[in-house]
Symmetry: C2
Subunit: 336 residues, 2 copies
Amino acid sequence: MKVLITGGAGFVGARLARALLARGTLAGQNLRALVLADQVTAPADLLADPRVQGRVSPLLAACEGLRSEAFDGVFHLASAVSGECEVDFDLGLRSNLDSTRALLDALRHRTESGAAPTRLVFSSSVAVYGPDPAVPMPAVVTDTTLPAPQTSYGTHKLICEHLVADYTRKGYIDGRAARLMTVAVRPGRPNGAASSFFSGIIREPLAGVESVCPVSPDVQHPVSSPALTVRGLIAVYEASREAFVGRTALNLPALNVSVQQMLDALLAVAGPRVRSLVRFERDERIAGIVANWPRAASAQRAAGLGLLPERHFEDIIRQYVADNAGNPQALKGMQS
Amino acid sequence: MKVLITGGAGFVGARLARALLARGTLAGQNLRALVLADQVTAPADLLADPRVQGRVSPLLAACEGLRSEAFDGVFHLASAVSGECEVDFDLGLRSNLDSTRALLDALRHRTESGAAPTRLVFSSSVAVYGPDPAVPMPAVVTDTTLPAPQTSYGTHKLICEHLVADYTRKGYIDGRAARLMTVAVRPGRPNGAASSFFSGIIREPLAGVESVCPVSPDVQHPVSSPALTVRGLIAVYEASREAFVGRTALNLPALNVSVQQMLDALLAVAGPRVRSLVRFERDERIAGIVANWPRAASAQRAAGLGLLPERHFEDIIRQYVADNAGNPQALKGMQS
């Protein structure tokens, strides 16, 4: 089979690619070719695999070509992040809305030409949820909480969920939408997302670098590890159409954890010296954005697919430590 | 002030135009110019008013020109109907999604050039509601029922609601979305909408013509008269931004009425001979579509704007009869 990952050079995309290549199969078929489409070059270890083909271009420009190329499956992860979309409205429309529409129309074109519907997993986001000022945010957002996005990013994710649902209803694709929780611990540098600090307050201290937490310790948020997020995307791909009971969207599992609990876990895993590298300095802009986010999420539909959340944030930190076993710089704080 | 009505030559659009011209003001401003944009020519009585300018073109093509034309207010009613969109997917995307996006971007362009945000009322629809097979349809759909559209028409209406909300949040427009109930009694001929019979079973007998009801008498549905629908659109336009409590969408008021109650009202208003012109002949395709529609809707947010539903379907029939006082052909059944 031939699979496309849009955003395939990104953090989640590359990790998904590694997982698929290691498995060698997806939904019972042999993975023969894996195309990683992104605006940047894919990591070298992926490009070294003979099954992998990297393609560097804006997704919107690439979609015309996809009309004449057969894929069995697509993971559509490419996206501009929330902070970027708030700063540049046109970027958000182009990257998160027009590109998805062009991708769906390319796949529809194939079906209308006689091909079987391509299976597609769309990475949506917990950002589809409010708060709707007219409807207080529930304590826990569920699969059936009324979405009321308050960012362009969340708006476009929700819109694309509905496009995926309608193209699926019409038989043009076999689409599914997985609402990703905030993925932590992300490697690398802070990005434009307002949620960036959820990774930063763990990643920087582990590397021996001071980190500033811009919100108070009682802020709580649904998070998921990179590994569990990737496992979720694959499970959503492999699930039968019937398992979705006529809906295409579901929440991926979340560990609902407070900043205090995250830092307690950091203390337990890495000790007091690492923990002491985090200090609190309120950033009103970020605190204001985060105050509007869900404090907890449930994922009943994902549980029906056998997907369960992590139980302790310590496990998530240990996963990050294990991932970086060969990268002393990333764990410098623990070794000093 | 200068106002644009897209779909201004259509049934609701023309009726809205007449109401605005008769009032002469909107939100406290004098109505100086009223542009009726549509794919067909506006009715002659409207074009005879010196304040009215009719424009005939596809909306999508007209939006480029709107970037350099100032409007104080827009009623965006133009739409392909549900039946058309199910038959022609591209028509639905173009007419109901791309055209709205182009209109919003034209208005955004003006704001970005320094103009005040244009006030816009978007006509959404009760078709945004399910049924979601995974979430049973509630007995009454409320302002906060989870939308789960099962037609392209409903999907595009919901998507545009979210675009309107996001463009409003960003300050590019002052947008509001009113979910129209099924408007009855519509004049003229049956159209492509599956809901067409809700008007047909009243309109045809009143004209002395036999009418076939394709669903059983116990089918119940939220309806609203043309006059109340127009009053709702104007009230939504005139409401303060604050009255929306941070949301842009609301249900317009509905009279929840069964086919049996509609026919009983027809008997009361027009007598047994007219009533006897309706016969039941089940159409499985239409019955199947209608079975998935809400049986009732509430409109709490609209009530907050002072908008209340009609109380008796007889009143709605009498409105139609009064509207057609000068049209003997339309009331031929009553006179024979």
